[in-house]
């Protein structure tokens, strides 16, 4: 364990010793605080059991499962198109991104590949849902730290992105647009120009949030040095996505793996930050929104003409086999392990969702911090309850 980790552990041990001593002298005892399952900072129904000494956390334990909807079991009794509709609801802020790895896994099993126009549009929608997701994070971050205004800016500008997604797919939150072998429909006319405008607006939004929140000295004093995750600990706990990149690990599945998506046709930077604290995590996400708008802009230039569906039978039966596909989703690495036995639906699906692994670090991370820092750390780790509990 690195130096910072040691310091955090030492603080924890010292706090426990102090607690024991004070308990003997003053006959005081700590307080167990249930943060959640219904608490404004938990984005849903995450419960964190925190043992407090005053305002200092002695230990904290996340308890999830309050929103468990049994998707892995449900997929066993659903056909492939139905599963696509279901997995929309896992990370409900970036729903389209949930469909893509599942569809890619099924396509891998069937040995089909979507036409390049479909791949392009998939990638565009993938990035749009990333923008919609992280935009809301940037606003919500303000609310968690007590600033009321950023969240309204976030909702305002996310609306433009949602309008785009709705215009193209018909579904505002749950597009259900991806099909095995391609896409349900082509883009409606005017989508490209509209998207260019919206991307410009979103870059303006990023500047606004940077002025309003990230440059603010109070915000910095609340987030800098809070909840530091060193590189090795982040890797040990299986963190992924922006949380990992904020710890200085240069790892991005969009760049690092070869998938039938259009990422190899665009030029983009992978943002990393060496600090690993809450500020770094938020900052990396802000920069990633900027980068995503650039990716979308580049992809809009180069959409190839052609069909959007490969030749697949009307009633889909996936041949026997097993496939694992994971993509770089807004929250981190999201993957599906699909086992097929040749039926209309999968035999078994294992869903690896990013948030579940990302919050597994909280017991380690929350030791010795103050109660307000719990909220800062949870906000900066950025989980979505549907993504934890599935």
């Amino acid at each position: 364990m690195s130096l910072l980790g040691d310091r955090q552990q030492l603080a924890y041990i010292a706090a426990q010793a102090a607690d024991a001593r004070v308990n003997v002298e003053l006959e005081t005892e700590g307080m167990t605080l249930n943060i959640g399952p219904q608490h404004p900072a938990t984005h849903g129904t995450l419960r964190i059991i925190a043992r407090l000494d005053g305002e200092q956390v002695l230990w904290a334990d996340p308890s999830c499962g309050y929103m468990h909807r049994g998707y892995e079991k449900l997929t066993e009794v659903r056909s492939y198109p139905q599963v696509t509709a279901l997995v929309n609801r896992i990370d409900w802020l970036g729903s389209f991104a949930n469909e893509v790895p599942f569809i890619l896994a099924a396509e891998k099993l069937m040995g089909v590949e979507a036409p390049s126009r479909a791949q392009h549009i998939r990638t565009i929608l993938f990035e749009l849902s990333r923008i919609a997701n992280v935009t809301l994070f940037l606003g919500d971050l303000g609310v968690q730290l007590g600033a009321v205004t950023p969240v309204f800016f976030a909702f305002r500008d996310r609306e433009y992105v949602l309008n785009l997604i709705e215009g193209a797919t018909g579904g505002r939150f749950h597009p259900n647009f991806d099909r095995i072998g391609g896409l349900k429909d082509d883009l409606p006319a005017g989508f490209i120009d509209e998207t260019r405008n919206v991307m410009k607006k979103l870059r303006g939004f990023c500047d606004q949030i940077e002025d309003l929140l990230f440059g603010n000295e109070i915000f910095q004093s609340r987030t800098r040095g809070i909840g530091v995750i060193p590189k090795d600990v982040a890797l040990q706990y299986g963190m992924s996505g922006a949380n990992l990149r904020a710890s200085g690990v240069d790892w991005d599945l969009r760049r690092d793996q070869k998938l039938p998506l259009a990422y190899d046709k665009v030029d983009f930077k992978v943002i990393t930050h060496p600090d690993g604290d809450s500020f770094a995590r938020c900052w990396v996400r802000l920069q990633e929104v900027r980068e995503s708008t650039r990716i979308v802009d580049q992809l809009l230039e180069t959409i190839p003409a052609g069909p959007i569906m490969a030749k697949v039978p009307k009633i889909i039966k996936v041949p026997e086999g097993e496939a694992w596909v994971s993509t770089e989703n807004p929250l981190g690495e999201m993957g599906y392990y699909v086992v097929s036995q040749g039926d209309m639906g999968p035999f078994r699906v294992k869903i690896r969702s990013a948030s579940f692994n990302n919050i597994s670090i909280t017991p380690w991370l929350l030791k010795g911090v103050y109660v307000p820092d719990i909220i800062t750390i949870l906000a900066s780790l950025y989980f979505i309850l549907g993504d934890i509990d599935r």
Partner: protein, 163 residues
Amino acid sequence: MAKVPGLVKGLGVTFGTMMKTFKEGSNTVQYPHVKETPPLRARGVIALHEGNCTSCMLCVRSCPDWCIYIEGHKEMAPPRRAGGAARKVNKLDRFDIDYALCMYCGICVDVCPFDALFWSPEYEYSEPRIADLLHDKTKLGEWMETVPEAPELEVGADKKGKK
């Protein structure tokens, strides 16, 4: 230029937005008085073209949360041409969609082989009682008026594709 403290910049952002709202109006609309038009593809409510439905039950089977209820029976219809044989047709007795259960995935519209189901962008059909969200076939038929034409496709699209 000297660096402006972040606190002052933040105040500037909120003040700027306030002046912008004063001058150019807000980003919101006053909903019951002003309505935004949803895009043509928006999945608002499902409309039923009853004449096309053969009660083949494909939509019922493919619905992920089983919110479509169909009952039908076979009937003898008069022949199409004079002197032809009488035909057997499927008569639809009941076609209900329970919008309290529907999750607007659109699979039923997709699988329908006879183009009997359509999406309409209409969205104002909330009810004070949850049971009233069960739309029967007359109500679903009324939505047919609101179904728009499919939008034009973006350049480079394969025109011969689906309607």
